[in-house]
Symmetry: C2
Subunit: 227 residues, 2 copies
Amino acid sequence: MFVRITTDPAPRPHSLNDLGMTSDSNPMVSLNEFTYKKGNEIYGEKEPAEYIYQVKSGAVRSYKLLSDGRRQIGAFHLAGDIFGLENGSSHRFTAEAVVDTTVRLIKRQSLETVAESDAVVARNLLRMTTTNLQHAEDHMLLLGRKTSLERVAAFLIEMDKRLTAAGVLALPMSRRDIADYLGLTLETVSRAISRLHELGILGFVGNTQRQIVLLDRQQLANLDLQN
Amino acid sequence: MFVRITTDPAPRPHSLNDLGMTSDSNPMVSLNEFTYKKGNEIYGEKEPAEYIYQVKSGAVRSYKLLSDGRRQIGAFHLAGDIFGLENGSSHRFTAEAVVDTTVRLIKRQSLETVAESDAVVARNLLRMTTTNLQHAEDHMLLLGRKTSLERVAAFLIEMDKRLTAAGVLALPMSRRDIADYLGLTLETVSRAISRLHELGILGFVGNTQRQIVLLDRQQLANLDLQN
DNA sequence: CGTACGATTGAAGTGTGTCAACATTTGTGG
DNA sequence: CCACAAATGTTGACACACTTCAATCGTACG
């Protein structure tokens, strides 16, 4: 089911324009596109970072693995987000398509070359890195100190802000993905969502539970303690 | 109060030289010093960020609080470290002196002014922010997915790398600080250290347990799974 | 339409938290 | 420098939030 957003002049967070680069203004910078099937790897941890990416459509998870398979997802990247922006020459996460996903690519080196001479690009690069840092800092608080209900509430609020269309949260990622993002098990995530449903804080579209309706954002925000 | 930096050729991690700024090369940038007593606040979360800081001696903790008092320490800043480098105009952590601590101050605005025209300063600013981001990313994995023993092992390895003098770890921070850094309780930290002692992985100087000797770094590294 | 995958729910287990007692160290004032 | 008080650290017993294991259900998609 498609929801058509007619005109979208709204400035998205982390658009390529934020870098001060478009194919128009910088014909040197190539903006290629590529599509990944659900579950496919976009790049692996410790691989050399040749490109940075912007999600055109779909969703991406960035994660680290421990040697025994435990996984921590550091971030989900949704439409408009830029990811793969590492410093140093290699990626610090593995990135995979959560669903079929189309991304734009920018050669990392060309970006750095531009940044060297263009203060605007350099500053925006810094601002984006800082935004990522800020997200990581907030997530440390969540992972270190919040209860399962607070984590799930925070997650729903975050997703609500980022991908709500028509008041419905159509989460592209599985319970396992959510769990690995929140430092929980998928069962605990499921139980927390059930509990929020019982509490009347959220509802579902139809009988499926993939599409969530937030009925009481205020109560949800109260569950996730202010930091 | 002005402090003249005489000669400091030693390349510290994150020294002010890394910013490409010394009082010699940039007489515009003032390098003041200030000393904080143990436990005193250096700046508070959401306060306007006027300065950035470099630890001259001592140690600093940066943390966030939930409204009910739960605390997550995001980082410890030791001699040589630069902290308080936020983007946006306000601090995202509260910073406190763990012990009596002397810091150097740099006016944030003057730094940004220099960065605007000096690509070297700008790049180093980005590099330092990226280093912070990298630490936060690794810490998310620890907080989300590691056991208490793995966390404490990782902590000891980190501190060993950063402040070992003469093979002895003299931790400046309390068990509570360590716990709030690792997302545990102080009792769990204490038990983990006792366990590492029983396992022969670490010992103590004298009868006190404030000074820790790492007897088997290899075994300690094995406990903290590679990521 | 059936098979497979993901989600939910229940029951039982466990790692870490909580509460409490005691030990040790640090700080303070005489 | 000692004596005491206060703060910090250790250890034990018990509690509980979350995990683990397992069964069932629902939905998607060949």
